[in-house]
């Protein structure tokens, strides 16, 4: 009869194994992205994502694309010495929390193609260094989320998003206000989904956007390693996933068909009629152009915009803009100084409302340009909206060099003023110019002007972000920016010491005491016959 009992044991073992298999199968089937659902009970639904994001992740699966989220969270340095620093830490940790929470949704929806990696320099230094190198990340960049997409058969591409600057909306106290000292910056909102989904979309949908550098108007332009060259800019663009190409307009005046963005760097002549015509038409069809003027010592190398400027309603001054410098030594009591070569590099104020310069404004990084010139609005062409991006302080002037001599003194006979040196121009698309069967026709074309050198090899380490921002923004698809995000808003407790005392009493004595009492009563009743 031994066999009988052995048979029973085998039966039970098989039963157990089968049950285990069923369990594993159930769990596996349930984690298929198609069947997996998230129920979001988080405060303010901060983890819920819009239908557009869900579609996006579906598309990702369809295209077998791998999506990686790399989170770089450098450790907080030291103790928070003052309230401001402490608040900064709190905002940062809250942003990290919200980001992680949101990424859980992406991970849940994306299935096995989505990886969420949090790099920890102390936990795994080797991998963290490799990843930092791959994404060109430095600790000074702070909390950064890298969105990396790898579509089969294409180069992997990524986009860096800064938590405080891109994903969060932090309200800075108005430093001019009288009570500014006691005010702390506050995390007002979290717009992670808009940013992350936009980044994915742009990485996924556009393929490799081609940036065309307009040749033929900037004979001095070089991509070498010297200070005035643009090699670093091109390298950074390529790293960001742009295809940097040249457009030799002297050979073919038509804008290349695959262009996502045309960049003209330090043109020394106005665009000729053909190029003007083709560029303007392209913009009217939704094209994007970035023109970076700079003042040149050769008088006739300072184009003013010409026909292109007239069509879009701007004109660039021919003379360099200088600006008095603030005396930081304190000896003169905060006066503005001139007659110093430093006046050549005006410090600029940035428009905090425009997406290109918003993060620059928030990070409060100073921006200096060389060889600035003034951009002026002229006329009012139909369907064109102009927006100032960069502006000097109000102690500026347009310098004149009567005898070929550089003169750093402010002219006495001219009133000092502020000059615009950066401008974003939005142009309504003319539907008539579009091919009739264009899907999702763009609504606007964009031109960004900066009149001053800032993204040469010299300037890139400091102001490269602005140049990359401009290119990113100009090539970004706008469809996603209006997706409905939860828009998390922070709430804060206001608790007085007596309340804390009451809470402590209630929690430490009240609740356990209640249980003690109840338990005692129950046990007494049970003991009674």
């Amino acid at each position: 009869m031994k066999w009988k009992s052995l048979g029973l044991w085998v039966n039970l073992l098989v039963g157990g194994a089968l049950a285990l298999a069923i369990w594993v199968l159930m769990a596996w089937v349930a984690s298929r992205p198609a069947l997996r659902t998230l129920v979001d009970l988080t405060p303010q639904q901060s983890s819920s994502v819009d239908a557009i994001t869900i579609d996006l992740l579906k598309e990702l699966r369809g295209r077998q694309a791998d999506l990686e989220f790399h989170q770089f969270y450098p450790p907080f340095e030291g103790q928070a010495a003052d309230a401001l620093k402490a608040q900064e830490f709190r905002i940062r940790s809250r942003l990290r929390e919200l980001t992680k929470l949101l990424l859980l949704s992406y991970q849940a929806l994306g299935g096995d193609q989505v990886k969420v990696i949090e790099h920890d320099l102390y936990g795994d230094p080797q991998k963290t260094r490799e990843a930092a190198q791959r994404f060109d990340y430095r600790d000074s960049a702070g909390d950064v989320l890298v969105v990396a997409v790898r579509v089969p058969g294409k180069e992997p591409r990524f986009r860096k998003l800064s938590l405080p600057l891109d994903l969060g909306r932090i309200e800075m106290p108005n430093t001019a206000a009288p009570m500014a000292k006691n005010q702390l910056p506050v995390l007002k909102a979290f717009v992670g989904e808009v940013q992350i989904s936009s980044a994915i979309k742009s990485l996924l949908v556009e393929g490799t956007p081609a940036v065309y550098v307009l040749m033929g108007f900037s004979p001095q332009l070089s991509d070498g390693a010297t200070g005035g060259s643009y090699g670093m800019l091109f390298g950074a663009l390529q790293k960001l996933g742009f295809d940097v190409k040249r457009w030799d307009a002297s050979k073919d005046a038509a804008v290349p068909a695959d262009a996502a963005l045309v960049v003209a760097l330090e043109p020394v002549r106005d665009f000729n009629d053909k190029v003007t015509e083709s560029l303007h038409t392209w913009v009217k069809r939704g094209g994007r152009v970035f023109v970076n003027y700079a003042w040149n010592e050769l008088d006739d190398w300072n184009p003013t915009g010409g026909k292109f400027g007239q069509l879009l309603g701007y004109e660039v001054g021919a003379r360099p803009v200088f600006h008095k410098i603030r005396d930081t030594s304190g000896k003169t009591g905060g006066r503005w100084l001139d007659n110093d070569p430093a006046v050549k590099r005006p410090e600029l104020g940035v428009n905090p409302g425009h997406p290109i310069t918003r993060r620059l404004a928030q990070s409060r990084t100073g921006l200096e340009v060389r060889h600035a010139r003034a951009i002026r609005e002229i006329g009012s062409p139909a369907g064109v909206r102009r927006d100032v991006l960069l502006v000097t302080g109000d102690q500026g002037w347009q310098a004149a060099f009567p005898e070929g001599q550089q003169d750093y003194r402010a002219p006495l006979n001219v009133k000092l003023a502020s000059f615009d040196v950066g401008m974003a121009i939005e142009v309504d698309v003319d539907p008539a110019l579009l091919p009739p069967d264009t899907p999702n026709p763009p609504k606007t074309g964009h031109v960004v002007l900066v009149a001053g050198q800032f993204c040469t090899n010299e300037g890139m380490p400091y102001y490269g972000d602005l140049a990359l921002n401009i290119c990113n923004w100009l090539t970004e698809r706008k469809v996603l920016l209006d997706l409905k995000s939860s828009g998390y808003e922070a709430k804060y407790l206001q608790v007085q010491p007596p309340q804390i005392d009451r809470i402590g009493f209630f929690l430490v004595y009240g609740v356990p005491g209640l249980f003690l009492l109840l338990g005692g009563v129950v046990l007494y009743l049970r003991r009674r016959q």
Partner: protein, 254 residues
């Protein structure tokens, strides 16, 4: 099902009148109360986002102890004690199916565990009043965490029932369950630390599912309910209850 319901009622009643249960409740809420009052003070001092308070209240040490120690204590007597005293014989010769007995006993343990946690929700609600915090707390995470805790405990208690059915030594049963809880809480971290998990989807997915404490802290306690996790827990509960049934059956072979 009558058998399951009757067993459930009897077992739940036994839990409610057991001094051990009340001792657990008092100690748990004493520790939790201390930790929670410290947490509230911390929030007030540092102006932390109040929406985090309910979530963080589930990350306290008392939660950890409750998950690690209490399931073993609750279920150790389920079958081991009955085997030791011989009452299992009356139980299994009564006209009830084994599955009813298992379901009833597990159900009572799970519901009792749920009851142990219920006051923690009420406490948070009481804190909302003006006399205390005077704030609207977010209860989404609380409910999700409650569900998550119930599922997690259900799994652990199902294992506890199984462990208890294996032996007639009550302490051994408790120890087995506690080791299981501890293993489930620690193992995924250990494996993830020693093996390259990122590259292996299945291993990663498995570890993700098994990393119950992280799932609890990062999903349920934040207010996120992932249906695949719910299915995982339900499947695990079914699995261990099935094993318990098998284990009861095997007495027929002995």
């Amino acid at each position: 099902m009558n058998g399951a319901w009757v067993t459930f009622k009897k077992e739940l009643f036994a839990y409610l009148v057991s001094p051990v249960s009340w001792l657990i409740a008092v100690l748990f809420y004493l520790m939790r109360g201390y930790e929670l009052s410290r947490l509230v003070a911390h929030f007030a001092d540092n102006r932390l986002d109040q929406e985090l308070l309910p979530t963080l209240s589930y990350g306290l040490t008392s939660t950890f102890l409750m998950v690690m120690l209490v399931p073993g204590i609750l279920t150790m007597r389920c079958f081991a004690e009955e085997r030791r005293t011989g009452s299992i014989e009356t139980l299994l010769t009564a006209p009830v199916r084994d599955v009813d007995v298992v379901l009833g006993k597990w159900g009572a343990a799970a519901v009792f565990y749920g009851l142990l946690w219920l006051p923690s929700v009420l406490v948070l609600h009481v804190l909302e009043y003006g006399w205390f915090l005077d704030a609207d707390l977010a209860f989404g995470p609380v409910f999700a965490a409650y569900l998550g805790m119930f599922l997690l405990a259900g799994l652990l208690l199902a294992f506890g029932c199984f462990a208890s059915s294996l032996t007639d030594n009550v302490l051994l049963a408790a120890l087995l369950t506690i080791i299981f809880c501890f293993g489930l809480l620690r193992l995924p971290n250990l494996v993830a630390g020693s093996v390259d998990v990122a590259g292996n989807y299945y291993l990663r997915e498995l570890l993700d599912k098994l990393d119950v404490m992280r799932n609890f802290a990062e999903w349920f306690a934040r207010g996120l309910i992932d249906t695949s996790q719910v299915v995982f827990y339900l499947g695990g509960i079914g699995f261990f209850l099935f094993l318990t049934g098998i284990s009861l059956q095997s007495r027929r072979i002995a």
